[in-house]
Symmetry: C2
Subunit: 347 residues, 2 copies
DNA sequence: ATGAAAGCGCTAACAG
DNA sequence: CTGTTAGCGCTTTCAT
């Protein structure tokens, strides 16, 4: 290994002239418990520092059956929505003395499955997964094995598992209601990956908002198949060439919106004069877009923070052989951030 | 551990009725080498699969002195510039059978130092660091210990170490030259974190472009102290209230630009009519900003890809006790992406 | 107040 | 063609 000549507890013990047991005890702060003399303790501590001794966590992990490591599976870490969550998870994990192994599933269930196996092999103490989200069968075994697990962003109704998500239904409902209140009647929806909870709930919020306000539902106004930029572009292209053209687009992700903006500009149209837009996911740049974007903001910081705390709880229960902590289902409220991308139409 | 009751190589061996050695050999694809009977091989393989056996990588790591793990230290994983790089590193690492331990240093040298220690304790096979970048003393020991290391984005002239960076000097030089060619004469520069190579070179590119075109250098037009959004806001605020007002701002990062845009809008000014802007870092949204931003694009995908490949080379040399591979200094060209944020002034 | 020895799960040297 | 044994670096039981 790169660090093959690294110091070991043995080399420290040799230098001080004590046993490895003593060194281990001192280094783990158990000098008191084992009534090790102050003098010995100090010498061990000092020698370890002098030698630049760094405990081998791999060996500790093997021995202790606890690696102080968590696994994090994310569909696309380059998406700022996910990277913000990842950041918060990592920062909280580290504060708790945990390292984070990152795995980008590239929105591919097969890769997600492999990651799961990989991380189990690495004996992570727990897992936080933002699943691709169409199927959950490969995640069930994790549950059976009692590996602490928290799911974020996309959940599975059929899976009895702690999760932290946004209130996607209400977020969408609020967004579309806002469009309707501004007298929009032909409202399109560019959806993301079908058969994910996130998409399902956002589209359901869209449907129900129309219904609640007594508007007809035109299924052909719901279009799209992924949360990516390209899908937004294609979706908007199609929608813009419909007659009558929708007066507003509800976009179910930040990247979809970017793609849709591309299409709208390309068609020589402007937001909100020719078409209004409202988008899921607030971003640092939302204020500075050609038309400052009215968005549904999610509490990304909180998602990461809460997810780790819940995982930590599970891990501690597991280690202490306590009975399993209760399954938590955290749904965080979203917030409508009104900017300039929605025009008030005449009645 | 969460997975305390997981299958081991022993339980597989027991079930098949062979020794652990045989199981290990089969599972590591060495059945041929050790001339293990086809029948035994098949039974081992099948039994392992049936039992859902997953090799314990912690134990393997300890035994093999190779963990198939790399450490990645990044100053802010929520910044899309870094998260794109991280994504490419993770994807390439995984292809090579390596897991990535992520550490967010939060632009804090002290945390970076701690991460370094942590990752060494975890016996990573190699490290990719995007350093905070002001000092390098804490990184030197890594080099002494012959731990494979690749530095990205920000490097240290005094450190004899492989790195992958962008041609920041030329990028900045090109950007400012472009402004000058468009007849700008009072050009401000909002800089990032002082005493980082990235900042130094970008500012130097700025200076030299002015010089080359025979323009005077006004030090008071160089302002700022971090790569963050807030710094951009403050910097622009100050610059806009100068008389005469600069006609253009060269912004040294994507986040600085966002902050600067905020200040410009707040002052009721418009880009590029009242003030031109050119910014380092191309982003998916650059096209859709209030004024589509003219940028210096870096090859973020390549940075991650190359960094991992170079690290892999070092790791393999290290493992084979070959002589050390040569230190590589990769400087990737940047590209000027012209959009609408720079106005051509009258001569 | 301290140490010897066993063992976490795995691989490799050596032995047949 | 297969198995026995030692040992990676650490913690902990048991012993003194």
């Amino acid at each position: 290994m790169a660090q093959s000549n690294a110091e070991t507890i043995q080399s420290v013990a040799d230098k001080v002239g004590v046993s490895t047991t003593t060194v281990s005890r001192v280094l783990n702060g158990k000098a008191e418990t084992y009534r090790i003399s102050k003098r010995t303790e100090e010498r061990v501590l000092q020698t370890a520092t002098e030698m630049g001794y760094i405990p081998n966590q791999v060996a500790r992990g093997l021995r202790n059956k606890r690696t102080n490591t968590i696994g994090l599976i994310i569909p696309d870490i380059s998406n700022p929505f996910f990277s913000t969550i990842a950041r918060n998870i990592e920062i909280n994990a580290r504060k708790a003395g945990c390292s984070t192994i990152l795995s980008d599933s590239q929105e591919d269930t097969q890769l997600e499955k492999e990651s799961l196996r990989l991380l189990q092999g690495r004996k992570v103490d727990g897992l936080i997964i933002c699943p691709v989200g169409e199927v959950s069968a490969h995640i069930e075994p994790v549950l059976y094995k009692n590996i602490p697990l928290v799911i974020i962003d996309r959940y599975f109704p059929e899976l009895d598992c702690t999760y932290v998500i946004s209130d996607n239904y209400k977020g969408a409902f609020d967004a579309v209601s806002y469009l309707i209140e501004n007298n929009h009647r032909t409202i399109a929806c560019i959806q993301g990956r079908a058969r994910t909870s996130v998409n399902h709930e956002r589209v359901q919020g869209y449907r129900d908002a129309l219904k609640k306000h007594g508007l007809p539902l035109d299924e052909s106004l719901i279009i799209g198949e992924s949360f990516g930029k390209k899908n937004g572009y294609i979706g908007a292209k199609i929608l813009l060439n419909r007659t009558p053209r929708p007066t507003a687009i509800f976009s179910t992700s930040n990247l979809i919106s970017l793609g849709a903006m591309g299409a709208i500009l390309e068609e020589g149209l402007s937001i909100p004069d020719d078409i209004s837009m409202i988008s899921f996911d607030d971003q640092p740049y939302s204020d500075y877009l050609i038309t400052p974007m009215t968005t549904i903001a999610q509490q990304t910081d909180e998602i990461g923070h809460i997810a780790f705390k819940l995982l930590e709880t599970q891990i501690n229960h597991e280690m202490n052989q306590d009975m399993k902590p209760r399954i938590e289902r955290i749904v965080l409220p979203t917030k409508l951030v009104i900017r300039k991308s929605v025009k008030t139409l005449n009645k």
